[in-house]
């Protein structure tokens, strides 16, 4: 195009025309919407549906303050602490367990067939929802926060390993060769050649996963795996909107605070600061 000078009109005529593709995409999406709409049976708002909507909003704006500052084991503060604790332990254990798994699944470390097997395992762990893992583990550990910890340790492996593998496969092996040339021992090579390359990526992955696990551990309470979820659901089904409000409020505040700090720390790590 650059050889022949085109006037503006000619350029305008030569603009990419994708009308046919657009119509095709539109028709496909429309067909999908109609197909899926057929399966969504809207049976009208339940008898007291609007009450529930207002109740939730009313609850969040009028939280139960005695519950909010209750220091006992049923209070919001303790349950929030428990939710955070489950996420902390689950993330740390998951992060540690992921290290060997992801090394064994990286094609530049182990033979291809072994890597494929471990990748399939990681995919399997990732696909099974955490709630199902918790339902299985609860038969082993019994109900309680410990079940949440174990569940999250296993579930985290899926996503954390996937991100670790990307970091490991990006390793610059030239550094190892030059360390070798200067006569470093294996330990020194790992300490000065591998760890600094992987550390930032690993830590930022773990912090990101901590964000996700925090929300997840609130969900796991639903089936009795500790944390704030159980009391929240009981309060919802009992329609105690003030209590619902105080639980939700605590959850929202904690999630927002942790999201803020995790984003900042990860941005710092990405820029290479300490």
């Amino acid at each position: 195009m650059s050889e022949k000078k085109l006037s503006i009109e000619e350029m305008y005529e030569a603009r990419p025309k994708s009308l046919l593709i657009r119509i095709l995409v539109f028709v496909i999406i429309l067909a999908l919407v109609i197909w899926s709409k057929a399966g969504i049976n809207f049976s009208g708002v339940a008898a007291k549906g609007s009450d529930i909507a207002w109740g939730t909003i009313y609850g969040i704006t009028h939280p139960d303050s005695t519950l909010l500052f209750d220091m006992s084991h049923d209070g919001v503060l303790y349950l929030t602490l428990q939710t955070i604790a489950i996420a902390v332990l689950g993330t740390i254990i998951g992060g540690i367990l992921s290290i060997p798994v992801s090394f064994l699944a990286s094609t530049n470390i182990v033979p291809k067939w072994l890597a494929v097997i471990f990748r399939a395992l990681i995919l399997l762990v990732r696909t099974i929802p955490s709630l199902v893992w918790a339902l299985v583990w609860i038969r082993v550990t019994g109900p309680g926060p410990f079940c949440g910890v174990v569940t999250q340790s296993i579930c985290s492996i899926g996503m954390i390993s996937k991100m670790y593998i990307t970091a490991i496969e990006d390793l610059d092996t030239g550094i190892l060769e030059s360390l070798d040339a200067s006569g470093c021992t294996t330990f020194q090579k790992i300490r000065c050649g591998i760890l600094p390359q992987l550390m930032a990526g690993f830590i930022s992955t773990v912090i990101y996963r901590f964000d996700i696990n925090l929300k997840d551990s609130a969900t796991l309470g639903l089936i009795g795996a500790g944390g704030i979820g159980a009391s929240l659901v009981i309060a919802i089904s009992g329609r105690r909107w003030n209590m619902v409000g105080s639980y939700l409020l605590a959850l929202i505040v904690v999630v927002l605070i942790i999201e803020y700090f995790s984003t900042r720390i990860r941005a710092k790590l990405a820029r290479g600061e300490k």
Binding site: S43, I52, A85, T127, P129, L131, V132, V136, R139, I252
Partner: protein
């Protein structure tokens, strides 16, 4: 180079408490080597872990003692009962429908919200902050809790799941989208407005082409997540595979659970593969 000219900024609080190590080099220069922060970080981490261990009643011996139980359950899950599959099909399709419709509607609502939440297009600070705050709140409530409230509001069934998925999609897609909108090149937009285009026209022709590919790939990514999320929403009565999951677990029919999980696995892998292919076409 004297020592004073190097120190321009005030040292961090940490360095004022633990003074940096002073090293005199052989050539007469002196350098400051800040003390490692590692011990402090490790101590904090140790305290956090110790508190967490107390609060969560961590008891590793339980796993060793009852670990066999897990083997039994997993063994049954990995022997899926294929005769149960016909009953899985309908909830499986419900799950796809819920997540598909929820993703499409959520993405459509997220687009204008994201545009009004990006600081380079919306110059009005209060509306920007309000929209971002609402998005943050939507994101911070777990999907299952939203589904639980929706199931009470709209009676049990797929509609509640659809609403929960839509809310979740709005929160996630709008956030990812406004972050990418803030990185686009605004020069074409300014050029068009200087020609006399209204800001809507200019946005449509100058910014939309830049946003569209990222927007579509965010939507596909969100669809992947939604299928996974939708599969458990049934647990609180919002339709889909979750109903079967809670039923099978309740009856301790783990080989039945196996076939439910297997079909979910196949579905998720297929969708991941398909959306990877579409995304590679997009870029």
């Amino acid at each position: 180079m004297s020592e004073n000219s190097v120190q321009v900024q005030k040292p961090a609080l940490f360095d004022r408490i633990f003074h940096p190590e002073h090293i005199a080099l052989a050539n007469g220069h002196a350098v400051d080597r800040p003390r490692s922060r590692m011990p402090l970080i490790l101590i904090c981490l140790a305290i956090v872990i110790w508190v967490s261990l107390q609060v969560t009643e961590f008891d590793f011996s339980l796993i060793i003692k009852r670990g066999r139980e897990l083997g039994v359950i997993l063994g049954q899950i990995f022997q899926p009962k294929f005769s149960y599959f016909p009953k899985v099909i309908s909830p499986l399709i419900d799950t796809i429908r819920m997540s598909l419709l929820g993703t499409i509607l959520g993405c459509l609502i997220a687009l204008p919200l994201a545009i009004f939440a990006s600081s380079n297009i919306n110059r009005n600070k209060p509306t920007l902050l309000i929209i971002r705050f609402i998005l943050a709140i939507i994101r911070s409530v777990p999907t299952l809790i939203i589904a639980n409230i929706c199931a009470l509001m709209f009676s049990l069934g797929t509609f509640a799941g659809f609403v929960a998925i839509t809310m979740f999609t709005i929160g996630v897609v709008a956030k990812m989208l406004y972050e990418s909108i803030e990185t686009i090149d605004m020069k074409p937009f300014e050029a068009l407005t200087s020609f006399g285009a209204t800001s809507l026209q200019a946005f449509w022709s100058a910014c939309m082409p830049q946003i569209l590919p990222t927007y579509l790939s965010h939507c596909l990514y969100c669809f992947e997540m939604n299928v996974r999320a939708a599969s458990i929403l049934g647990y609180v009565g919002a339709g889909g595979l979750g109903i079967l999951i809670s039923e099978r677990v309740g009856w301790r029919d783990y080989s039945g659970l196996g076939i439910v999980l297997l079909s979910l696995f196949v579905l998720v892998v297929t969708i991941d593969f398909f959306s990877d292919w579409l995304r590679s076409k997009l870029s």
